[in-house]
C-alpha cells in the first residue's frame, strides 16, 4: 500500500494541528494589539497607538507566515476565529505589562511546538520555527525595554507625555 497521506503532507499531522493553533494565537495577538492601539489613541498616547498599530500588523504577518507554511506543506490551514479581546486597561503601564505577558505566552506556545516537532522527528516544522524562536526574544525585549523606560521616566507631571514621545524610539 502506498502512503498517500505522506505523499500529500510534508509535516506531521499533529504539528499541523499545533501550527493551526498558533495561527489562532498570532491572530489573537494582532487583535489584542489593535485593542491596545485603540486605548492609546483614545487616551492621548498617539505614539503608543502608532506602536501598537504596527505591532498588530506584524502579528498578522506572523500569522500569514505560518498559514503559508501549512499550505506549502500540503496541510489544511484554518482561518482563525478570534474572541475574548480585552479593551479594558487601567494605564499605559498596564497596557505594556499585558503586552509582555501576551508575548511570553506566545513564546511558550512556540517552544511547545518546537519540542513536539523534535519529539516526533518533524524537522521541517522545527526548522521553520527557528525564526519565530528568535523573533520572540526580540519582541519580549522590546516590551521590556519600554517598561524600563516608563519606570525611569516616571508618570508624574509631564512624564506621560515624555513616555509617549519616547515610544517612538521603538518604531522603526
Amino acid at each position: 500500500m502506498k502512503d498517500i497521506a505522506r505523499q500529500s503532507l510534508s509535516i506531521k499531522v499533529e504539528c499541523m494541528d499545533l501550527l493551526n493553533n498558533q495561527i489562532k494565537k498570532e491572530a489573537h495577538a494582532s487583535a489584542t494589539y489593535l485593542a491596545m492601539a485603540s486605548w492609546c489613541d483614545q487616551n492621548g498616547f498617539f505614539t503608543g497607538a502608532k506602536f501598537f498599530y504596527k505591532q498588530a500588523e506584524e502579528e498578522r504577518e506572523h500569522m500569514m507566515k505560518i498559514f503559508q507554511f501549512v499550505i506549502d506543506a500540503g496541510g489544511n490551514a484554518l482561518s482563525p476565529e478570534i474572541n475574548g479581546i480585552s479593551h479594558e486597561y487601567s494605564s499605559i503601564v498596564d497596557i505594556f505589562e499585558n503586552a509582555l505577558d501576551h508575548e511570553i505566552s506566545v513564546t511558550k506556545s512556540i517552544h511547545n511546538i518546537v519540542m513536539k516537532a523534535r519529539e516526533v522527528g518533524d524537522l521541517a516544522t522545527e526548522k521553520f520555527l527557528d525564526w519565530f524562536v528568535l523573533e520572540q526574544v526580540e519582541e519580549e525585549n522590546t516590551i521590556r525595554d519600554i517598561l524600563d523606560m516608563i519606570e525611569l521616566t516616571g508618570i508624574e507631571g509631564v512624564g506621560l507625555q515624555i513616555i509617549d514621545g519616547k515610544i517612538n524610539d521603538w518604531i522603526d
Partner: protein
C-alpha cells in the same frame, strides 16, 4: 482498494489507483481526497462530545456533518460520533504523517 482500519460501525479504505480514500459509513460510502480527509478529521475532532450530555448545548445529542464541501450530509448520534472519532484516529495512526516516536 485496501481496508486501512475498521471501527465498530465504519471502515476506512485507501485506493492506491485513485489516490484517494473511502469511508464506508453504513448508509453510504464516501470518497475523499486527502484534503477532504484532513477537513473531515478537523471537523470530527472539533466536536465536543461532552456537549452531548448537556441539555442546553446539544438538546438532542445529534451532530450534522457536512462532508466534502457539502456533497454529503450525515446526521450522527453520540455513539456514531465517538466511533467516527475512533475510526479517524485509528486510520491516521497507520500513516507516516502521524505521530511516531523517533528511534
Amino acid at each position: 482498494m485496501e481496508a486501512v482500519f475498521s471501527s465498530k460501525y465504519y471502515t476506512f479504505f485507501q485506493s492506491d489507483k485513485e489516490r484517494c480514500f473511502y469511508i464506508d459509513l453504513g448508509q453510504k460510502v464516501v470518497r475523499l481526497s486527502f484534503c477532504q480527509l484532513l477537513a473531515l478529521r478537523q471537523k470530527v475532532s472539533n466536536i465536543r462530545i461532552e456537549d452531548h450530555f448537556d441539555a442546553e448545548l446539544n438538546t438532542h445529542g445529534f451532530e450534522i456533518l457536512a462532508l466534502c464541501n457539502k456533497e454529503h450530509l450525515f446526521i450522527l448520534n453520540t455513539l456514531e460520533i465517538l466511533d467516527l472519532k475512533e475510526l479517524l484516529v485509528g486510520a491516521f495512526a497507520m500513516f507516516e504523517v502521524s505521530l511516531s516516536p523517533v528511534v
